[in-house]
């Protein structure tokens, strides 16, 4: 690592990449506190645009979109976490069974398929079977692509737990279910929580798939923001974006620390 630092231009390259990645975010954050309605000229610090998000003309639209996003993210992350936990148990504790590698590929497929392909395919699927598009279609689509994100931290955690613990529990007269509930699940908990948080945030800020499968008039926060932006960028969009960024950062950080904490406690 220290060698890498000695390459000429390495520092410059790093700074260039960081700027490219984060400068737009920082500009958005700064201008969300802009007094003026311009998105390019600084007119002094104020919180008017945050006030506008919560109480302005468009606040009702944003509130209902935010509520939809939250409900979908909670439900999708919960379902995905349950499914991912069961999948991890089957993959890592189920011995060898036929189609194991196929199952593994299937679980992780959403990570590899381009999102737009999934979006189009899901849309075609729902229209073919005549499924009314609405909140439920968004939820179903979200559950599917959240599974691998929940699966990865859960499986990583489970991999680190020796089979001895469950065997010790069963040796002490616990049934399979008791061994799972009383011993294995508490040990897996940091992984499960990290998986949930990751799935939650992935669902919360998904745009492409949501935009395809949502019903008319139903918006989540990302689609609502997109709709608003199409009519011209106002600083209130920046305020919302900053708030969402904050939520994302909090969740991802929490997810990181939960799994790290769990590893230390083992």
């Amino acid at each position: 690592m220290s060698r890498l630092r000695n390459y000429p231009g390495f520092l410059g390259m790093t700074i260039f990449c960081l700027v490219l990645l984060y400068a737009p975010l920082i500009i958005v954050m700064i201008y969300s506190f802009n007094e003026s309605a311009s998105i390019t000229r600084w007119g002094g610090f104020s919180l008017v645009w945050y006030e506008d998000v919560f109480f302005g003309a468009e606040s009702a639209k944003f509130k209902s979109a935010a509520w939809n996003s939250l409900v979908i993210a909670v439900c999708a992350a919960t379902s995905a976490t349950v499914i991912a936990t069961l999948a991890a148990l089957a993959m890592l504790r189920g011995g060898s069974f036929r189609g194991k590698s196929a199952s593994f590929a299937l679980i992780n497929l959403p990570l590899m398929v381009p999102e737009i392909v999934t979006a189009v395919a899901t849309l075609i699927f729902f229209s073919t079977i005549g499924f009314q598009r609405g909140l439920l279609t968004i939820l179903l689509a979200h559950i599917v692509f959240c599974i691998p994100f929940a699966y990865l931290p859960i499986a990583a955690r489970l991999q680190g737990i020796e089979a001895h613990f469950e065997q010790a529990a069963m040796d002490l007269y616990a049934s399979r279910w008791q061994a799972f509930r009383l011993v294995l699940m508490p040990l897996m908990m940091p992984g499960i929580i990290a998986g949930f948080l990751l799935a939650f945030i992935i669902s919360l800020d998904d745009f492409i798939i949501t935009n395809f499968v949502k019903g008319a008039g139903i918006e989540t926060l990302p689609t609502a923001i997109f709709g608003a932006v199409k009519q011209g960028i106002k600083p209130n969009i920046m305020a919302i974006s900053t708030l969402m960024l904050l939520v994302s950062v909090v969740f991802v950080t929490a997810s990181y620390f939960v799994s790290k904490l769990g590893n230390q406690n083992r």
Binding site: E162, F165, Q167, M170, D171, L172, Y173, S175
Partner: protein, 375 residues
């Protein structure tokens, strides 16, 4: 004794202790892992009985199948062929959690998220015992293992020796019919290991529970066991008391593995089937006990401490080197025909004639010290 009474009226998996003296019967057990070209035989036709109330030890080098046999008894591994019976009842039909058997795992496998008391009480909780009953029993077990002060700690806050005791207390608490211990002392330092040997033996006698103890350490096996089964490469080599195994090893492997010994090729020059006459190192001839089976030559075993080294010994030898071991010194000597031998002499003994490398001397041994081994 009073502990044993309270333990004995438990009945799980429909197994009751009868007058039968056999706690465990292992009948023709085979176990192999994998199949085809990858097939590995872990256990090859194991037949043995463990008696009620016995401290029984499985002893053998790494990879000989001790853990596999233990896991079969506990129910975590199935047999490829054969049967395991606990007090006359076939275990094959019973799931691990239905067997009145508890295990002290090699790495203890204490539940890290439970306190010491919760760990110890886990088995009783799973058996649906009342809270007061669990509390009493946990207290009793913590007292037995001298862990009273640690009840509220988490396993990670304990030393290795304390964790070992928790694992023991946890396995003893449900009063199993049989306790399996997989190298429970191997993670402890020498001093603690010696202390725990005595404590384990004491606890076994106090509780009257049958112990099946696994180790690769012969000292551990010899010092604690009522009987020992010596295993090698998935096969049973010999079963017997410590004394039988040490004094009358049945074959070359057992003689070599248990304690230190001199294994010497000897010619059989006469005598009877059961009392052959052997010639050692082309020199002295002796009538010894042991089965020669009509062979012309055999391997004999003589323990280093049964040989005396003196200036007027019967078989002339040259001293090669000395290894000082505290209480004893090992003399590595070579006989007339080049056969190496180790002689053990106590330091500070009455005949403290010193020998140095290069000295010529002689070794003497009693015919009773010689065992003829089946090859």
């Amino acid at each position: 004794m009073q502990l044993r009474h309270r333990l004995s009226n438990t009945d799980r998996g429909g197994i009751t202790v009868t007058s039968s003296t056999k706690a465990v019967e292992i009948v023709g057990v085979h176990k192999h892992f994998g199949a085809g070209a990858h097939k590995a035989v872990a256990l090859d036709n194991i037949n043995l009985d463990v008696r009620d109330n016995e401290f029984f030890t499985l002893l053998g080098p790494s990879g000989c199948g001790k853990t596999t046999l233990l896991r079969i008894i506990a129910g975590f591994e199935s047999v490829s062929d054969g049967d395991v019976l606990l007090y006359g009842k076939r275990l094959a039909e019973l799931a691990p959690n239905k067997r009145p058997i508890n295990t002290v795992f090699q790495n203890y496998a204490l539940f890290p998220h439970f306190s010491v008391a919760e760990n110890v009480g886990f088995g009783l909780r799973m058996l649906g015992k009342s809270k007061s009953e669990i509390d009493d029993r946990v207290k009793e077990m913590l007292r037995l293992t001298q862990l009273q002060a640690m009840a509220e700690r988490k396993p990670s806050q304990l030393s290795g020796g304390q964790q070992q005791r928790v694992a023991l207390a946890r396995a003893l608490a449900p009063a199993p019919k049989l306790l399996l211990l997989d190298e429970p002392l191997s993670a402890l330092d020498l001093k603690l290991r010696h202390q725990m040997r005595i404590e384990l033996k004491q606890i076994q006698q106090e509780t009257g529970i049958t112990f099946v103890f696994v180790t690769h350490d012969q000292d551990e096996a010899l010092s604690m066991s009522d009987r020992i089964a010596v295993m090698s490469a998935g096969k049973l080599q010999q079963v017997g008391t410590a004394e039988e195994i040490y004094e009358a090893p049945r074959n070359r492997f057992v003689a070599d593995f248990i304690g230190e010994t001199n294994l010497i090729d000897a010619d059989i020059v006469g005598g009877t089937e059961t009392h052959p006459r052997v010639r050692i190192a082309g020199g002295i001839e002796m009538d010894v006990a042991g089965v020669a089976g009509g062979a012309r030559s055999a391997c004999i075993s003589i323990r280093p401490e049964r040989i005396t080294l003196s200036h007027d010994g019967r078989l002339p030898c040259v001293v090669d080197k000395l290894v000082y071991l505290g209480t004893d010194t090992h003399y590595h000597v070579r006989l007339g025909d080049g056969t190496p031998m180790i002689v053990r002499r106590q330091n500070g003994g009455s005949d403290a004639t010193a020998f140095r490398p290069g000295d010529t001397a002689g070794v003497t041994f009693d015919p009773a010290a010689i065992k003829v081994l089946a090859s």
